[in-house]
Every structure is written in structure tokens, then in C-alpha cells.
Symmetry: C2
């Protein structure tokens, strides 16, 4: 069902809102907006009562499309580790800082422990040709398992970087650890790294530095397990007040 | 040019690598990988010499596809502010925490100041029907300008939330401020909020809680000024070691 099919029976939602004990003022405001599209208003106290996995799927989708990446590391004994991450975030271009969110240590210890131990890691864009293998790295393999071998991807070592790249990936970069910031409210971590090396398939960089990552078949992801290809809508350039 | 066209003349890249003073070991490793796809290896010391905007475009694309959102706030006098943000990141689903990166205060003071002053803000997915207006909010309007009016979007107030939603947006939520974490390396901030209310167009929530935000026409963005629509490739479900 697409959005275009909505808005045919606003009175039904109006009644539903009343039955959900939403106050009169809100209904008035809300009713106005649903004349074109029917919207649901969900309170966090309701969401908290939902079954755990249903709620996790829902909340994970709200933050929107995310970058689909594999992070490659080694431990002190140079045992490779590979794990899918959906929380990579741009922090700044000078210095070139990239962050990612690591879940609590009990849930996801390997990547963050390896980064702390060695100070080096790689981030590799996921392409459709190996997305199923990439997603499989999210399984809870024991520390002694090399996920590259377990899922069938190729570890690529580029001297002198000790962390493995994913050979199959068309865009990838190495980072050195800058800081691990603890987020105390839910025991997660913001891992901050500075880019040291970029490996990119030739022909992707536009004449203003923009990288056509869609032509490299880099993917977006959503929620806990959905992957997307993209289609460029437009580039607008730098927005000015005088427009 | 698509990836499929690459790899026809690896010898040319081989020569280019030599001329770029890359060491012999690296060339050997690298030459092996470019037999199928020609890759470029860029060192940060080279990237740092690039013109400022070229470099910013390049680095901003490396983190991959991002969620395209508008953040709505008010100041202490209830003056609305609206600004586009591409750095929204999921932090956890219980409690439902969402983060976003705010640039240094000198570059982007209004949103973060308003959030500090009032403790409340909204995040609104961007849809193609208003993406041009959304991007225009990135212009440096003075503090006294209401960007809703300046770009032609509709501020929607849902009692008792004092921060404005974007009426045109099909998926949006309100948050209360939890913490602002300073990232000292580049004077940016990780703003952490807890979701209090979710407004979502009816019919989008799958029977496991997953939200079909592509059907809501939520967009992805890339770099500083590019916007994308998406196409779902697949959902894989929870990955298990025993697969």
C-alpha cells in the first residue's frame, strides 16, 4: 500500500483517536492534518508495552536509512574479525573523522576490543554481490572464528595496515582510533576514528570530489535486517539565503 | 560509468601507482586485486592537500548513505527553527534513544541552542514532495527567521509538544533531550534524545514492527547536497551461527 491510497476515510481515524483517549485540542489539530493523509500518533508509554522484538524493529526504523558497512579488525594475535555495522556517521572532514556506535560490550565485544587493542580498523561499503554474506557476519560467532572464512568473504591486507579490508568491497577505508566515548544511558559507545587510507574503485569521483557511491553499488540499510539499493533524485548544491 | 566497465586495463593503473610512489610490496598486493576491478589507493596526506570543498565532498561521501531529516525546535520565546540534518543515528531501542551530530557552535548554533533551552525537538523524515524546501533550510538564515516560513513548509504543533513538526512529513517523532556529548577533536556534539511520541502515516508498520519507510517515501542523502530514493533489496531476518 502506498501513501497515495491513504486519506480515504479520515472519520474512521478520528473515531480511533477518540477511543485512544487523546485530548480534544490534539484531535482538532490532528483532524486537520489527516484530511489529506491518515496519521497515527503513538505515545512512548504505549510503545514500551509492545513485545520486545516488535518494538526493536519499530524503533530501529525510525532513525531512517543508514549506511551498510562491514568493519574489519584483528586482535593482538592478528586473528581477523569482520562484523556488519549500520551506525557509521560522518563527524567532520578536516580532520577526517568518522564515528560508529558499538552496542554494549556484553552484546558485541569483538570489534571494539580489537580496535582498543590495535588502534586500527577498516570500514567497507556493502554491495549487493555479497550482502547476504555481510549480513551473516551479524551472527554471534565465537571470538576464535574468523568471520571472513565463516561467511566466505576475502580478507585483503594492504601493507602496512594490519586490519583486513573486504576485497569484494568497491569503497573502503582504514582508520586509526582517536577516542572511544562511553554513552552511559544505554552502555553503548561512540567509536571515533581518523581516516588514514581510502581505497575506491576508479571512475567514481566527480569533478567536485563527490563520490558516486550508487554507481559503486554501495547499499543503504534499515532497521535490523533490511538492505536497499538507491536511485539519485538530485543534487542541490550549497543553499544560500538569497535564493 | 558502472563498475562493470572497470578492469579492462589494469596495466595503466599499475603504472599510475608506480608514478605515485607507492611501495613495491603494496603494488604487488594491489595489482592482484585490480585484476578484476581497478582501485585507487589514496593516502590521507594526499587528501589533505586537496582544495577545501573538493575534500569536504569526498570525505562526506565516504560514510555512505544517510538518513535525510529535518529537526524542528523553538527558542525560549517559542520562535520556530527548522534545519536539515544528515547525521541521525540509532542508539538503542529500550530506552528509545536517538543521536544526531551537531556541527560546531560557530557554524550551526540555532538547533542545539534551542534544544538546550527547551529540552524538546522533533525529527521529521524528508519526502520527495518537499525535499527542495528541506535542503533550503541549510542556508544560513539569521536566528530571527522562521525557516518554515522562509522555505514554505508547514509548522504542525501537537499539544503538549512545544517543538514544531513538519506537517508535510509522513514519519516524524518528538524527543526530549537526554544529554549533549561534546566531541573535543573537532568541536562537534552528539545530541542524545529519548523518543516520546511517534507520528506515522497509517498502513506502514509490518506485522513484526518493521516500518516500510520506503513506502512512506522517506529519503536517503549523501555527502553535502545529494538526495536519493530507495528500493528494497531484501530482508534477511536474525542471522544465526548454525546457518
Amino acid at each position: 500500500m502506498t501513501i497515495k491510497n491513504f486519506g480515504k476515510a479520515p472519520h474512521a481515524l478520528f473515531k480511533k483517536l477518540v477511543s485512544n483517549h487523546i485530548t480534544g485540542d490534539l484531535i482538532k489539530l490532528f483532524y486537520h492534518s489527516i484530511l489529506s493523509i491518515r496519521m497515527e500518533h503513538l505515545l512512548i508509554d504505549t510503545i514500551k508495552t509492545w513485545e520486545r522484538f516488535y518494538r526493536a524493529n519499530f524503533i530501529n526504523c525510525l532513525s531512517g536509512f543508514k549506511s551498510a558497512n562491514l568493519i574489519g579488525t584483528v586482535n593482538r594475535e592478528r586473528q581477523p574479525n569482520l562484523a556488519v555495522f549500520s551506525s557509521v556517521v560522518h563527524l567532520g572532514s578536516d580532520p577526517a573523522l568518522i564515528g560508529f556506535i558499538n552496542r554494549p560490550l556484553a552484546a558485541a565485544p569483538h570489534t571494539i576490543n580489537n580496535i582498543e587493542a590495535t588502534g586500527v580498523y577498516t570500514i567497507n561499503h556493502i554491495n549487493p554481490s555479497f550482502v547476504e554474506k555481510a549480513h551473516q557476519t551479524s551472527a554471534k560467532y565465537p571470538a576464535e572464528v574468523n568471520e571472513f572464512e565463516a561467511v566466505g568473504l576475502t580478507a585483503q591486507f594492504i601493507y602496512p595496515i594490519i586490519a583486513p579490508f573486504v576485497a569484494e568491497s568497491n569503497i573502503k577505508y582504514a582508520l586509526k582510533l582517536v577516542e572511544i566515548v562511553s554513552i552511559k544511558h544505554n552502555n553503548t559507545f561512540l567509536v571515533i576514528g581518523e581516516i588514514t587510507d581510502v581505497i575506491v574503485a576508479e571512475g567514481l569521483i566527480a569533478n567536485d570530489g563527490f563520490i558516486n557511491i550508487d554507481e559503486a553499488t554501495s547499499m543503504a540499510c534499515l532497521g535490523l535486517d533490511a538492505y536497499y539499493t538507491t536511485t539519485k533524485a538530485t543534487r542541490y548544491g550549497y543553499a544560500r539565503v538569497t535564493k
